[in-house]
Symmetry: C2
Subunit: 378 residues, 2 copies
């Protein structure tokens, strides 16, 4: 038997129609034509999608498992998402809930995070606690102002400082100038205080441009970058990861939530398989609509075992505040990166102190015995 | 005043909450932080999104117009979609309905279709009627079988033959082998019959891989390719268009419908601005859920005047049949490419005859006086 990917869709339907609807999805996501017109036995047997199971989830929604030939996806992540959801994404009654990829496909295709959770703990020396992160904003500030802001965050002892996802390489803040200014400022703070905050600039544009930006970031001595896989394209994201094995990649969810693909699958499996070391997602109770259950599943999937791939660090974000730190650590445990942006900036003159208070809370939290000590397998 | 992009969102809300919700979207899609934390006057005035208008569409939906600084998008299409919908795509109550881009931004950024409708009429000599197109499938067939199928379509007199969007460069049908086989078969038919059907292979994978595939397609003498912009990434799509000015690009909607971006905006403006000469979209009454009104808007937007850009050819598709040809031509007129795939394949032994019947219907249709004669402006 040829190896098969299993796609799990959630389909709105009534009980009488679901069998035909499931079969239509199986055809749409494989041969996309009337089966009566297919003469080739092997295509009917191996390439045409097969409905493996239908189960009633209640409330007019059904879980439909469909087997798809792994050979149609090959080892290209863009083609994988195309085979899982390309055309069906155009049909409003279906969401892509999960996917299972055969082990032999994953072994052949040796991708995934280079560092992930364990590698990031190893490289940074940050153990037994959660990571802390903040965001440089607003966009519109010139490089020297962003650098000044970064230095103030760094004096508060923050671990990571990422660009706001709107920051690209705009006329008022070109990538190379910004990255150099911020990196210099952070090294100056390190020389004074002994603490190095790690800058994670946002890499945007074409795949070609992204390559140039990453080389500029490396020239400035940086080891972390952020990309937006759904805007850059999944295949291009993985291509960058393949080329820069010493870098750590943060994946930002821009344009991702729109796609009716379950975020646990998209961030915890697909982004991670492409090589995301850390996956940013909207936390529950902030500006976005994810439920605690969805956030739990995202974190568990990103950290869970998945064909021997390194775990990706879950980074819940979006309207988080310092007074939620304990609650979030209760919820996520030590294997998480807490990202608080706007709420720290809102402290204005007291930005460094507020950052320090955030960092202190994360360090002083009483983690479970043995937490935050994942050993790096390499 | 700095130049502004206007984004038009449709927001589900109640009347009391809409003002605050609109303001929250304006902040989310610009500075993404509490305005109280912004000290810089210029950022508050120029970079922060501004709610320009709110109008009640009825049924609990509001149209919200928000002005966004054009400088934040620069001239990168990926960053444009990020600024229009990056984070808001993660919020279920909002769809992106339309966008207006300032003329000076469009003039600076001289992109768009190289050929478009008029250039394609000029290059192919097809005037005064609609174009005809079909699809090579099923995926899983080896190159020689696909070539055989293409030859049978060509003998029926079809104008264009596109790959099924699932066809990539799979182990059973590598791109270069397939493209060469199909191109050779079509030239052989041309030598015999005088009719050249134009092959439009599907280009997938990373931006780097796409470049190689396109070079292989050109080596095989082809002038048309199909891409999936939402999978390749919009910026990478435009980069390919910029590099291959003699090629014609078909844009396939895979993964696009999922994104809660209005298809008339996405296909008719954004894909077209990136350089799509033809835009494929799900026709009403087929396997997909678009209404006649939506299809009308897609076609009108793709063909409509838009900052001096060439019109893109609308290509309605998806479950179309030959007995709907007259109805579709009544609906779309001459400036359209009708794509019938599965229904022709379903004719099996009579595939060439059925194709010829389709072509004949399109040629014999009584178009309006003067239709299908757009002059090429170059």
């Amino acid at each position: 038997m040829p190896s098969r990917i299993t796609a799990i869709y959630h389909v709105r339907s009534d009980a009488r129609a679901i069998k035909a609807r499931a079969q239509a999805i199986a055809v749409e996501q494989s041969v996309e034509m009337p089966l009566s017109a297919i003469e080739d036995r092997q295509i009917l047997d191996e390439i045409v999608g097969k409905v493996e199971d239908i189960s009633d989830l209640g409330g007019g929604v059904f879980a439909v498992r469909i087997g798809l030939a792994a050979a149609t996806a090959g080892n290209d992540p863009g083609q994988l998402i195309n085979m899982l959801f390309g055309n069906t994404s155009l049909q409003d009654d279906v969401t892509l809930y999960d996917a299972e990829v055969p082990g032999e496909m994953m072994v052949r295709d040796r991708t995934g995070p280079h560092a992930g959770l364990a590698g990031t703990r190893y490289r940074t020396g940050i153990k037994r606690r959660a990571f802390t992160c903040t965001a440089l904003k607003p966009q519109g500030l010139p490089p020297e102002k962003l650098a000044e802001l970064a230095a103030r965050f760094a004096r508060g002892g923050i671990d990571f400082i990422k660009d706001d996802h709107g920051i690209a390489s705009q006329s008022y803040s070109p990538f190379e100038t910004r990255v150099k200014a911020v990196a210099d400022a952070l090294r100056k703070v390190e020389a004074e205080t002994g603490h190095l905050a790690r800058y994670v600039p946002s890499v945007t544009g074409t795949a070609r441009a992204a390559l140039t930006y990453i080389l500029e970031a490396r020239t400035a001595g940086l080891r972390h970058v952020m990309v937006q896989p759904m805007i850059l394209g999944l295949s291009n994201f993985r291509d960058l990861v393949d080329r820069f094995t010493s870098l750590t990649f943060f994946a930002h969810p821009a344009l991702a939530g729109a796609s009716r693909i379950d975020p646990a699958l998209l961030f915890g499996k697909i982004f991670r398989t492409c090589g995301a070391d850390a996956v940013i997602f909207p936390n529950y109770g902030g500006r976005f609509g994810y439920s605690p259950e969805t956030c739990r599943r995202i974190a568990e999937t990103a950290l869970g075992s998945w064909h021997g791939r390194e775990a990706a660090i879950p980074v819940p974000a979006g309207g988080m505040t310092t007074n939620r730190v304990a609650e979030m650590l209760d919820f996520y445990g030590a294997d998480v990166m807490l990202l608080i942006g706007g709420a720290l900036l809102d402290a204005r003159d007291r930005l460094t102190e507020e950052t320090a208070a955030f960092v202190r809370q994360v360090k002083d939290y009483r983690y479970a015995e043995g937490a935050g000590q994942t050993a790096w397998s390499i």
